[in-house]
């Protein structure tokens, strides 16, 4: 299971926009400020590349909770920003959600576990589910099977985010090496191996 090529393209394109918008290549930017801008760009890129899902909406909503992010988000996302922030139709279910979640989880997990039995196992599953809800963006308002579905999707996207950031790093490092060697040997024709 992997993300699509379209995702990878969209991610890189969005990263580029993010870098431009936050002017990360400005020399005057401090390390922490630049790091935050990069991380923000990466998260937005991941959400935009994936499209509309519960977790992507949750991610953008979570990011815009911090005031300093909002102008960046508005700049990057444009019109999409407002529509991405619109609450899901499912928000009306939230007051009842806990009961429904607990009931549906009890039914599903009870049937699921053939080897395990008892309160301990069921409590463990519920505990893990609560932790998962905290880790997956927008997880608080997700019920049993949609939580699992969104988790699957989120993990795949996170993996791709890591891979793409790693390949960006590698690419930049290689480009830096090339420009250094160019500067050091100006009179010779450059004959380096391109990666």
């Amino acid at each position: 299971m992997q993300v699509t090529e379209a995702f990878k393209h969209a991610f890189l394109k969005q990263m580029l926009l993010g870098f431009q918008a936050s002017a990360v290549s400005t020399k005057s930017m401090g390390f922490q400020e630049r790091k935050n801008a990069i991380k923000l760009s990466a998260d937005v890129a991941m959400a935009v590349a994936r499209g509309s899902r519960k977790w992507t909406r949750g991610l953008i909503a979570g990011l815009s909770e911090e005031r300093q992010n909002r102008s960046f988000l508005r700049l990057i996302l444009g019109e999409q920003y407002e529509s991405l922030l619109k609450p899901c139709h499912s928000s009306w279910k939230i007051p009842r959600c806990k009961k429904i979640v607990r009931r549906s989880l009890r039914i599903c997990w009870r049937k699921q576990k053939k080897n395990q039995s008892g309160v301990l196992a069921r409590t463990l599953v519920e505990k893990r589910t609560q932790e998962l809800k905290r880790l997956v963006p927008g997880g608080k308002s997700m019920d049993g099977s949609s939580l699992l579905d969104e988790t699957l999707d989120y993990v795949l996207s996170l993996r791709a985010q890591v891979d793409l950031m790693q390949s960006l790093l590698t690419t930049f490092e290689a480009s830096k090496l090339r420009s250094h060697s160019k500067r050091r040997l100006p009179e010779r024709k450059a004959s380096y191996v391109s990666k």
Partner: protein, 85 residues
Amino acid sequence: MSSRRSRISEEEITELISKLQSLLPETRRRGASRASAAKVLKETCNYIKSLHREVDDLSDRLSELMATMDVDSAQAEIVRSLFRS
């Protein structure tokens, strides 16, 4: 609505759990047999946390690297990667 929701097919859940399991690094390495739902959920939580840490670490390294890069070459590199893949 609520009765429909609580009768989520147990097959669906089993399938989702097993798909999650196939994503986990440990499973890929050892080709483990079916683990319990609780174990898969726990490993998934750990995996997500480690992926978050990796993103944070990569952001650090990119920040360090980009401090001494010029604007044009950074952007050119990204555009080049877009065409490469």
